[in-house]
């Protein structure tokens, strides 16, 4: 019944622009897998060897190295052709029929998705590699032209009725459509209608809040944590298009979904791996997914420590506050910071990181610890300073450690 063999997967082929390249040899020198070579005319990349580590990108003085073409995987430009080029070939439009492959990593991501992902990961200097033991993600199965249609099977308010923010837990059912996701991945929501300029709304990305087997295991569903946006970053009243659309959905409503996306912010799967998670507000979605994954696994004892730092204004505004506090202490070490509780000093996640420095440093010293940071951009610098300080007090160099963590796929940041 399988017709998988007829699906041609695509390749995002790495190429060097011979018109801009100055043949300085920096890329060839840098490449850890010897994918780059040259003759007297051109520098070229062997598609069979390139592992997309991007080590060659920033040292290139010209930008010639940063060129990509989407090609069918069985028709990558061979070295012999590349050596003869004077100019890069134009992108050849791929046959639509070839585009949707199973786990297609080659079709270009929508521009909106690239843009949002770049902004969200800028705090770590771009996309980091995933943990070595992460499961292989499927990405980009559904495009804007061909979205998946999901049905709303639940929409619950997570924050107290009198809380100032309306955060919701929304469950989407994919029926018979294949929509595999991993914890930490995001999906795109296409809000219906047109914007003020008569164009379709931009794609809005949401982290999946449920583990890989679904909000309700063995049913084809997933959940999102969505905050109703009523003001912009500066506090001016603005109604967020996608968030209001999502928060107003009723059971049975249909939603167009694209994705999934994300190949980096993924959880480790090897026994003994620790999760150190830091989040604010709806940045808790991927943390909930990872925590649930750990909780549901049959032998949680195999797993390392799970430590969570979670910030919100008040307990009433902390999504999943109730369920969180009921989790067993030996399973997860929860640290909640509230910044607006009457008659209490304002407390932020970084304050708790400092207060728990002994345990945090113990985890930082462990090669099996993976760090995740998700939430408002503002917390990035505070958290970074806290790490730097506690490291210093314990004789560690945060800068060195930070770079090592990034390189090893052990530090993941998504902030907005």
């Amino acid at each position: 019944m399988s017709n998988a063999t007829s699906t041609v997967t695509n390749l995002r082929q790495h190429l060097i622009d011979p018109e801009i390249c100055i043949r300085c040899n920096t890329c060839e020198e840098t490449c850890p897998v010897n994918a780059i070579s040259h003759d007297s005319r051109n520098y070229v990349v062997d598609a069979a060897k390139c592992k997309f580590c991007y080590n060659c990108i920033s040292p290139c003085p010209t930008g010639a190295i940063d060129n990509w073409r989407h090609v069918p995987a069985d028709a990558a430009y061979p070295l012999a052709d590349q050596l003869l080029w004077d100019t890069l070939p134009a992108q050849v439009a791929l046959d639509e029929g070839q585009k949707v492959g199973a786990g297609d990593t080659a079709t270009p991501l929508p521009d909106d998705v690239e843009r949002i992902a770049a902004a969200a990961t800028s705090g770590q200097g771009g996309v980091a590699p995933p943990p070595w033991s992460a499961a292989h993600p499927y990405i980009n199965l559904y495009s804007i032209q061909k979205p998946a249609v999901a049905t709303v099977s639940g929409n619950f308010r997570l924050t107290a009725e009198d809380a100032s923010s309306d955060i919701r837990h929304i469950v989407l059912d994919f029926g018979n459509a294949s929509f595999p996701v991993l914890e930490g991945q995001t999906i795109g929501v296409l809000a219906p209608g047109l914007d003020a300029n008569g164009k379709p709304h931009h794609v809005r990305l949401y982290s999946v809040a449920s583990p890989r087997d679904g909000e309700r295991p063995r049913y084809n569903n997933l959940s999102l944590t969505v905050k109703r946006v009523c003001s912009d970053h500066d506090g001016a009243p603005v109604l967020g298009v996608a968030s209001n659309f999502l928060c107003d959905l009723k059971k049975g409503d249909k939603v167009n979904i694209v994705g999934p996306y994300g190949t980096s912010f993924l959880m480790p799967n090897h026994p003994g791996s620790n999760l150190l998670m830091i989040c604010t507000g709806t940045g808790s979605a991927p943390m909930r997914a990872m925590t649930e994954r750990r909780r549901r696994k049959s032998s949680p004892k195999e797993d390392g420590k799970v430590m969570l730092f979670f910030g919100a204004r008040t307990p009433a505004e902390l999504p999943y506050f109730g369920p969180l506090t009921r989790l067993p202490k030996e399973f997860i070490d929860i640290n909640l910071a509230f910044s607006r509780v009457a008659e209490q000093p304002r407390q932020y996640v970084q304050d708790l990181i400092r207060a728990r420095s002994d345990e945090v440093v113990r985890l930082l010293r462990d090669d099996n610890t993976y760090l995740y940071l998700c939430g408002l951009k503002g917390m990035e610098s505070g958290v970074d300073e806290a790490f730097a300080d506690i490291c210093k007090n314990h004789g560690l160099d945060w800068k060195t450690l930070h770079d090592e963590l990034l390189r090893q796929g052990r530090y993941h940041i998504e902030t907005y």
Partner: protein, 474 residues
């Protein structure tokens, strides 16, 4: 291998653990800053420049971009990571473990190599110090300053070696590096090309293309050195050096592009008309090319040199891509062709390979330089203009070595004194040529605006647009 920026002198060599060295360098640091303020880019110390700074030496970290005032640039000491079990790969000591300390018997030769290399770095900053006043765009101004601060860092790299491994002599040499001045009659820089002036931007682009490329080849051969700290230092410098050659190649390319566009608009190859339109005619570009190519040929030293043999034999300086050469890496019985003038002709003779190593490096360089000229020719061809730029013969206009005794044309013909006098203006930029090029220079300092004589670049720095505000004046 990240860099500790909390220290006064950023470094990845654990400077904090060697207090004596740290103190010595901290003593040299203010003298360097004084030199920079004195002899660094003119009238630009308060600008915010969009510069690249190394934050670590691994591929992800060494190209960090942000606005920096040049005197606040974090000059420091960065070495490539050590290679486990590295050996001396050539010469009499081939196969021995690479040296982590200076071998006593080679001390003075090694110091001489480091001082000669180190001297070129501040020299080029001095040569280029006025160019900011006449930059053709903010993009170019930024590129100039990037080159300048990195030449400054390369000076630091060499000074570190002098301080760390050569004791008092090294410290004195480090001071002298800040005392010599490019073009100074009494206390000039060591190498000739570094005492020439860089009066205009075409000269600057030619210099970064041709002369900085000599730097690349010298660094490549020093990166093969059996003295491991020198090899690791030079390896990291090479990554930065690539930007300098990019500035040269793309700079000259953009000048050519613009000239060809105007020639096509005016449908003319008449030099007077082309100059009247405010762009640099191709024959003038060829003459600049001849000049910078030939001056750079001399930087490789005498064609037959016993010093070169000694440096190689003692494991101090290898060949370009030494470890990729398929031979015994000792070269005692091998020969290599060098040029000589005899019977009114250029003759090729076989010299002992060890003595001909300068010539070997020069030949490696020529191959590389010529391929870039071919890429410039592609720009001309693409515009459909029947003109071809060419590298002159490597014996043309030499001032060093046996070939300097003869007069040789760009085509490689041996000339009489009279013929040379009659024709040399066709081959080298005349006073009038230089005056014309100078007349085009004037500062363009609006984002996205480019002087008439140069095309905008194909893409900006660090993926920024070409109308990005690469320099902010304060």
């Amino acid at each position: 291998m990240s860099i500790d920026y909390n220290q006064k002198i950023p470094n990845n060599v654990n400077l904090g653990e060697n207090k004596t060295l740290q103190r010595a360098l901290e003593h040299w640091q203010p003298e360097f800053i004084n030199w920079w303020k004195d002899m660094g880019p003119d009238d630009s110390q308060s600008f915010d420049v969009y510069l690249r700074t190394a934050v670590s030496v691994d591929p992800g970290g060494w190209a960090h971009f942000d606005y920096v005032k040049m005197p606040d640039y974090r000059w420091g000491i960065f070495l490539n990571p050590a290679e486990e079990g590295r050996k001396v790969n050539f010469g009499a000591h081939k196969g021995e473990a690479a040296w982590q300390e200076v071998p006593g018997e080679y001390r003075s030769n090694l110091r001489r190599l480091i001082v000669t290399q180190g001297d070129t770095e501040p020299a080029s900053v001095e040569q280029q110090r006025h160019l900011g006043l006449t930059c053709p765009s903010l993009y170019d101004m930024r590129n100039l300053f990037q080159v300048n601060v990195e030449e400054g860092r390369h000076l630091w790299a060499m000074v570190y070696l002098l301080h760390a491994y050569f004791g008092r002599d090294g410290r004195e040499e480090a001071e002298a590096l800040l005392e010599r001045r490019s073009g100074d009659a009494d206390n000039p820089r060591i190498l000739g090309a570094f005492n020439e002036s860089t009066p205009d931007w075409l000269s600057f682009f030619m210099f970064t293309y041709f002369t900085d490329r000599d730097g690349k080849y010298q660094l490549c051969s020093l990166a093969e050195s059996g003295f491991d700290p020198l090899a690791r230092t030079c390896k990291f410098m090479l990554t930065e050096e690539a930007h300098h050659m990019f500035v040269g190649e793309s700079g000259v390319g953009r000048v050519i592009q613009r000239t060809c566009e105007v020639m096509n608009q005016l449908k003319t190859d008449d030099v007077a008309k082309i100059r009247a339109a405010g762009v640099i005619d191709l024959p003038t570009i060829q003459r600049y090319l001849n000049f910078h190519f030939s001056v750079t040929m001399d930087l490789f030293g005498a064609d037959v040199s016993s010093n070169a043999a000694t440096f190689y034999n003692t494991g101090l300086k290898g060949r370009y891509e030494e470890t990729k050469q398929d031979d015994d890496h000792q070269l005692s019985d091998a020969t290599y062709p060098v040029l000589e003038v005899g019977d009114g002709k250029i003759l090729t003779i076989q010299a002992p390979y060890l003595n001909a190593l300068n010539e070997r490096l020069r030949d490696d360089y020529v191959r590389d330089a010529v391929s870039g000229i071919e890429r410039w020719n592609k720009i001309i061809q693409k515009q459909g203009i029947p003109f071809t730029l060419a590298a002159p013969h490597k014996a043309f206009n030499r001032k060093i070595g046996p070939l300097s005794a003869a007069k040789i044309s760009p085509a490689g013909k041996v000339l009489s004194e009279g013929e040379w006098t009659h024709h040399h203006k066709e081959w080298l930029p005349s006073v009038e040529d230089r005056a014309f090029v100078s007349s085009l220079m004037g500062r363009v300092d609006q984002p996205g605006k480019y002087a008439n004589w140069i095309a905008p670049p194909a893409r900006g720095i660090n993926n920024q647009p070409i109308d990005f505000e690469y320099v902010r004046f304060n």
